[in-house]
């Protein structure tokens, strides 16, 4: 008789295996439900595959979705390493977009100068947006979850105000949108711009910093046990402030990439939940900056497939339900990865002794 026992740690390969199983299970459940409601599952399935990974346009779309998701996912992941949660990625995304658009709209100059300035302005705005929650956390112990979340709504409204008010498009009269920004991140492959490889490099760089630097080690220890960090004389407060500001900068950079790479305007509602989805990406990545990349890919696939299904007259709510199902099954898979079979005693004995 084989028993299963829950272990406190889940090895990465088990997590991967269970997640793959979860995705298959989700596909089966959705397929059966769609078939029951009288749809041709195979036609739909083929269409989804074709318009995501099966065609050049699909792949380009995926990369465009992934770019902001990698950055907002990394933004949440870095804070989770020190035991905090930046729920304000959405707001910092907007501020990054505002900063970038401000420079792009009103600071003429050669592209080679303007683009880096746009990025710097975005980073500065994103950091400014998170500075109050950061200081409240570091000096007064105020939960950053609430403060960062509340600022999202302010940032969303601020963007609408700018896009419909002072910065509104006076040329084409597009609704809730600024004028077109002429400086754009150069394209690399079809519509995929250089922001995509840059975001991947940033995630990889963060992973290296977290694992291979003393700073990353201090962040790790501070997150695991603040008492031990104090005992070892680590500058906890400084690390909290640095990590939160870094997080704000990452989310803001996502906003800048979106403005300068994809949308070329400041638009109301343009964050499109990328900030919140970053939280999901971070949860999927289980605190690893490197794992943010595949997690963002998965999230992008889900989003993209959802859009395809919507074009096939599937209700938006049904698409949302499917997304929820996928995430739920993955969460179940993650939990199952903690269980390992414990062989009956006789065989284990020799196994342990070996």
């Amino acid at each position: 008789m084989t028993r299963f026992q829950r272990f406190p740690t889940a090895p990465a390969r088990l997590v991967l295996a269970w997640r793959a199983a979860a995705l298959v299970a989700a596909a089966l459940i959705v397929g059966v439900l769609l078939a029951l409601s009288g749809r041709d599952v195979f036609v739909l399935g083929e269409l989804v595959l074709h318009s995501t990974v099966g065609s050049r346009f699909g792949l380009e779309d995926l990369a465009l979705f992934m770019t902001p998701l990698v950055l907002t996912g990394a933004a949440v992941t870095v804070t989770s390493r020190i035991g905090l949660w930046n729920i304000g990625g959405e707001g910092q995304f907007y501020l990054g977009a505002i900063g970038a658009a401000g420079v792009g709209l009103y600071l003429p100059g050669p592209q080679i100068v303007v683009l880096p300035l746009m990025a710097l302005a975005a980073i500065a705005c994103g950091m400014a947006w998170i500075i109050v929650p950061t200081l409240a956390r570091a000096y007064a112990g105020v939960s950053e979850i609430i403060t960062t979340l509340l600022l999202n709504f302010v940032a969303g409204l601020l963007t609408y105000w700018l896009a419909t008010g002072p910065w509104r498009d006076r040329v084409t009269g597009a609704l809730a949108s600024s004028g077109r920004i002429s400086d754009a991140i150069p394209e690399l492959w079809g519509v995929v711009h250089w922001g995509f490889p840059l975001s991947l490099a940033i995630a990889a760089g963060l992973a290296a910093i977290m694992t291979w630097t003393g700073w990353g080690y201090e962040v790790r220890v501070s997150g695991a046990n603040p008492g031990a960090a104090r005992y070892a004389g680590m500058p906890m407060r400084g690390r909290v402030i640095a990590v939160m500001l870094l997080s704000g900068a990452l989310a803001a950079l996502a906003g800048m990439f979106e403005v300068a790479g994809t949308v070329h305007r400041l638009q109301g509602g343009m964050a499109d939940n990328f900030g919140y989805l970053g939280i999901v990406v971070a949860v999927l990545a289980r605190r690893s900056c490197l794992a943010v990349i595949p997690a963002a890919l998965l999230m992008a696939l889900i989003l993209d497939a959802g859009i395809v299904l919507q074009t096939q007259q599937l209700a938006a709510t049904a698409v949302l339900a499917i997304t929820g199902l996928v995430l739920l099954l993955i969460a179940i898979g993650d939990e199952l990865a903690h269980y390992r079979p414990v062989a009956p005693a006789s065989s284990t004995r020799s196994g342990v002794a070996a």
Partner: protein, 525 residues
């Protein structure tokens, strides 16, 4: 005291038959059989990592056995969770408390209990708690927050929580490790009353005197196996120690210095000058303390826990900056901060290793790097070299004699004593000038205590200044050159160990200061 014998034929409360429990790479329990009878106190002994806590976690449903059977009142049982175990009358108080610090005593008692009245007001819960407290003879303050309680008070809450759920078998994992002697006495009389009611107790302890005093029978584990069960009255501490460790432990006089040992330094390594500290509430926890520690000596600090020892060790190691007074390191004003102290060679074995000396969820490698990650080979130019950290962790585990199956696995998976050994060794490594050790033998088995004492003596002979905070007067008298006594945040007196005796220290610990001591009190004249 007569043995409350059970009627012949009464089944044991609990019988274990051939229990096995394995972790990846570790045999925690192998083929363990034992029984506990109604109306007895069974002591469970064994070295660090012998599998005592694991066995009891199996009994209470935290772990499932990989093989073997558990028989409760004559019927085979399996517990899927601690909740099931307590419903069947088996309750445990763990080595590391599991209360919710921000909740009140009454809330903790009623948390997750089927008999908690629904939507009850705090007043109702507190009244119920008061009634339970009187019923079982464990005085607690129902409205106090758990985080404000002393270790002994927290433990009373834990025990009351278990007893309230009508436990008939109470399991205590190293209950006296954090208790003052007076608190331990209270605990023991409560346990005797519990036993007189026909209930059973399993108690895990490393303190052999206590085992001799409180238990009826003793079971010893070694390397996960049961090596035997004895009637306590047929045992002696020496025989128990030898059976546990597998060799004789010969008590040594540690005050004798080795040949060629560094003499006591001429100038103090670490000094406090009229140091006072207040807590957040403005209460003075350290009052006007002046002391000197010289290289090549061991300064013992005696006192009932909670009389300023924690603050004293934190000031001595740079964790706490005093409000008044001065801390001198090698005669000069010390740069503030725990990091600066550590870098100038001050090691610190703190009293609560899980809360401050270790990050329980990180691996052994990360935890052993805590003191040395800033400098090469691990640190340097901002880097963290994981391979060098792993090499350091292997080295520390080697001298600490702790076998670690996986250096990346969370350090909380190690046994309590093995965690303590690792912390002690890590700190001894950096203590080139001063070692401040608070209750360093808590949770260690006697073999490990003897080894650590020997190592302290070696450090002293090398010229390191050692501050040893302990409640165990024998330990202090055996090791220290001088003994300071703390009471209510004051250093009552510093005595030469030669003319200190247990009675005199005891009086000072109780705050009674005889006239002549006042003159020599307040540190080295």
């Amino acid at each position: 005291m007569e043995m409350p014998a059970a009627a012949p034929g009464t089944p044991p409360v609990l019988q274990l038959v051939g229990i096995c429990k394995y972790f990846p790479g570790v045999i925690a329990n192998e083929d363990v059989s034992l029984d506990v009878r109604p109306g007895e106190i069974l002591a469970l002994l064994g070295e660090n990592g012998a599998g005592k806590s694991t066995l009891m976690n199996v009994v209470t449903g935290i772990y499932q056995p990989d093989a073997g059977e558990m028989i409760l009142d004559g019927y085979g049982t399996e517990f899927a969770s601690p909740q099931e175990a307590i419903r069947a009358g088996v309750g445990m108080v763990h080595q590391h408390f599991k209360l919710v610090p921000a909740f009140t005593v009454a809330e903790n008692i009623h948390l997750g209990w089927s008999e908690t009245p629904r939507n009850a007001s705090p007043a109702v819960l507190e009244a119920r708690t008061q009634a339970l407290s009187e019923q079982f003879g464990f005085p607690v303050n129902p409205s106090a927050r758990v985080e404000d309680l002393s270790a002994g008070e927290q433990q009373r809450v834990e025990i009351l929580r278990v007893l309230a759920r009508r436990a008939r078998l109470l399991i205590l994992d190293e209950p006296t490790a954090v208790l003052t002697p007076a608190e331990a006495r209270d605990l023991f009389s409560a346990l005797r009353a519990f036993r007189a009611g026909g209930n059973a107790v399993i108690i895990i302890s490393h303190k052999l005197d206590e085992v001799m005093e409180i238990s009826d029978r003793v079971t010893i584990l070694r390397g996960g196996r049961n090596v035997g069960t004895w009637e306590t009255r047929e045992c002696s501490p020496r025989m128990l120690a030898a059976t546990m460790v597998g060799r004789e432990i010969v008590p040594q006089d540690m005050r004798a210095r080795a040949e060629g040992a560094a003499p006591r330094g001429a100038a103090p390594e670490l000094s406090l000058r009229s140091v006072s500290v207040r807590d957040e509430r403005g209460i003075e926890t350290l009052s006007d303390v002046t002391l000197d520690v010289f290289g090549g000596e061991i300064l013992g600090i005696a006192g009932v826990a909670g009389n300023g020892q924690r603050e004293l060790t934190e000031v001595l190691t740079g964790l706490l900056s005093p409000e008044q007074g001065e801390v001198l390191l090698g005669g000069r004003t010390a740069a503030p901060g725990a990091d600066a102290f550590a870098r100038s060679g001050v090691g610190h074995i703190p009293q609560d290793r899980l809360h401050s000396a270790l990050a329980p969820s990180l691996g052994t490698t990360d935890n052993m790097a805590l003191r040395e990650y800033r400098a090469p080979p691990i640190g340097g130019s901002g880097l963290f070299r994981a391979d060098a950290a792993l090499a350091l962790a292997r080295e520390i585990a080697g001298v600490a004699e702790v076998r670690i199956p996986d250096f990346g696995a969370p350090v909380r998976n190690l046994s309590g004593g093995n965690q303590q050994r690792l912390v002690a060794r890590r700190e001894m490594r950096i203590a080139s000038r001063v070692l401040v050790a608070a209750y360093p033998s808590r949770g260690l088995d006697i073999g490990a205590i003897a080894t650590m004492h020997r190592y302290f003596a070696e450090l002293r002979d090398k010229g390191v200044a050692i501050v040893l905070v302990s409640e165990d007067l024998e330990e202090l008298l055996n090791l220290s050159d001088r003994i300071g006594v703390m009471f209510h945040g004051r250093l009552m007196a510093t005595l030469d160990a030669e003319d200190a005796d247990i009675e005199r220290i005891g009086l000072l610990m109780g705050g009674r200061n005889m006239g002549e001591d006042a003159a020599s009190g307040g540190g080295v004249a």
